[in-house]
């Protein structure tokens, strides 16, 4: 029997597979397809203090090996998430869940973090300072080491739960951002969020996305994610959650060999609703194939 369990900031996961925020809703859509308690955990849809509709449509475009999205953090706001979504989530998922938080100011992050800190079902807070699809917030915190550290410090001050800061790849030097978050008290890091991209419709000669630009995800970004996880995990002493284009159990192992303590799977969920379950069921077989008895030996 191989051992697929891993530790993430002091909480044990049965396996390292975590559906990524924004691709898994609040879990219950997927519970129609399979028992989602097979998951390590999952990161629920990015939450802001106030409700947000997000960007106009089209919000989705396709490219070889991936897709672009410019959803723009649509969510019902933290109070509604707690009152309406988390009860539904708890009915279908019985493990600690990762709460993904986004914002447009330090206060926004603090507000949501303080509220979600009180929810027993929340195991970790994932602080998204990397959304490329909103203006005046999101990624602007993730592209400057000082701003990234400020958000991290402010959130840490209002929660006892582990804080994982989600980083953007759209920077010159991701290691400097990662180190700034670590020094500010982050318990872990997750990377990468999507890469900024765009497509143009040949017929209309206009951008395909109403937002003009969007975030690229899917297998196309996997090598970029892997490289950045390698760089960051060799530069910090806190756990790194690796994500970006993971589609198979082999991708999971590769990402963990690059230094990830756990992985998130995003876009694959949109193509096959059972993607994460299929990866988890396949993981022991692929571990055996490569002579891996425990995932923790890869660290």
């Amino acid at each position: 029997m191989v051992n697929t369990s891993v530790d993430l900031c002091g909480i044990r996961l049965d396996n390292p597979v975590i559906p990524a925020s924004g691709t898994f809703g609040y879990g219950y859509e997927f519970a129609e397809y399979y028992d989602i308690n097979i998951l390590g955990t999952f990161s629920f849809k990015g939450t802001t203090p106030e409700a947000r509709f997000g960007n106009p449509t089209p919000r989705i475009a396709e490219c070889p090996g991936g897709m672009l999205n410019a959803v723009g953090l649509q969510n019902p706001g933290v109070e509604k998430v707690i009152a309406e979504e988390l009860p539904k989530l708890r009915r279908v998922f019985h493990k600690p869940v990762m709460a993904n938080i986004s914002g447009f100011s330090v206060e926004d992050y603090v507000t949501s973090a303080a509220r979600l800190d009180k929810e027993d079902c929340v195991g970790w807070l994932e602080i998204n300072i990397s959304c490329p699809n909103v203006h005046g917030g999101g990624m602007s915190f993730g592209t400057d080491p000082g701003a990234a550290a400020e958000v991290t410090r402010a959130v840490k001050a209002v929660t006892h739960k582990p804080v994982i800061v989600k980083l953007t790849p759209n920077v010159t030097d991701i290691v400097s951002i990662a180190r700034a978050c670590e020094e500010a008290g982050a318990d872990g890091l997750s990377l990468i969020n999507t890469l900024l991209g765009m497509r143009i419709d040949l017929r209309t000669r206009r951008p395909l996305l109403a937002n003009t630009t969007g975030g690229l995800s899917g297998p196309a970004v996997f090598p970029v994610a892997l490289r950045m996880v390698w760089q960051v995990s060799h530069a910090v002493h806190i756990p790194v959650v690796g994500l970006g284009g993971i589609t198979t159990a082999r991708d999971v192992l590769e990402m963990m060999m690059a230094g990830a303590s756990a992985v998130e799977v995003g876009t694959a969920n949109l193509i096959s609703p059972t993607a994460c379950r299929d990866i988890i069921l396949d993981l022991p077989r692929v571990m055996k194939e490569y002579g891996i008895e425990s995932l923790e030996e890869l660290k």
């Binding site: 997000g54 989705i60 396709e62 070889p64 899917g218 969920n269």
Partner: protein, 242 residues
């Protein structure tokens, strides 16, 4: 909703660029009129949402227009090849609101879901009248199939090359109790301007997943944000504020 592998039994041209694909192997789970499927097309990344034209005896019928990369690949597929399909997506039409004289209004490739709807209405012993709108006579498909069901069919073409001339909105019967529609956005909006009767409209939007996870297809409605793939694709006109 179910994920299933279906086998193509038939894939033929109905009108220029418009194809009908039949697939065998659909499980007996309910696929309701107005729902759609998401088809994984070999060689493309995202699935393609396609409305259900018919589902009977384990056979799924889809009608699609080859307009982009995905649908062009679909058009080249042959009987015996298989497709990975997510079935039973979206809400579908509400048949309980049909009343005694429902009218089904379809425009172009918006017509297919109305076929399954007409069939189910007739099964419930309600005879719908059907208005099919096309630009020109050579685009016409499924006129005979609707008639064979026992529905009263009126074809309307923009240039008058077949059937009635003009827009479908100019040929709405005065005594309709309710309308069910699918077609281009301008047609749907014009319909709502042309009649004050209750109506259900099937919308189209570019989708990511098709089952409510990615929020890629959200629209603003009178009742707040709705996902076309999950709370839709069929919306009551009041919900849209039309």
């Amino acid at each position: 909703m179910t994920q299933t592998i279906l086998t193509i039994t038939d894939n033929c041209l109905l009108a220029p660029g418009v194809f009908r694909m039949r697939l065998a192997g659909l499980r007996p789970e309910e696929v309701k009129p107005g729902q759609f499927v998401e088809v994984r097309v070999p060689g493309t990344f995202l699935r393609r949402p396609i409305s259900v034209c018919d589902a009977e005896d384990g056979v799924l019928t889809l009608i699609y227009k080859a307009v982009g990369d995905g649908t062009r690949i679909l058009a080249g597929m042959r009987p015996g090849e298989t497709l990975d399909v997510l079935a039973g997506l979206g809400n579908g039409y509400d048949l309980t609101r049909a009343g005694t004289a429902p009218v089904l209004v379809g425009g172009g490739v918006g017509i297919p879901p109305l076929y399954y709807l007409a069939k189910e209405l007739l099964r419930a012993e309600v005879t719908p009248r059907v208005l099919l709108g096309f630009n020109r006579s050579d685009e016409i498909f499924y006129e005979d199939e609707f008639a064979a069901l026992g529905a009263a069919v009126t074809v309307v073409t923009l240039d008058g090359s077949a059937g009635e001339k003009g827009f479908v909105t100019e040929h709405l019967p005065a005594d309709l109790t309710c309308f069910y529609a699918c077609g281009p956005l301008p047609m749907l909006k014009a319909l709502c301007r042309a009649t004050d009767r209750p109506g259900q409209l099937s919308l189209e939007e570019r989708m990511g997943c098709g089952f409510g996870a990615c929020m890629g297809c959200s629209i603003q409605t009178a009742e707040g944000p709705k996902r076309v793939c999950k709370e839709g694709p069929v919306f009551e006109r009041e919900v849209l504020g039309w």
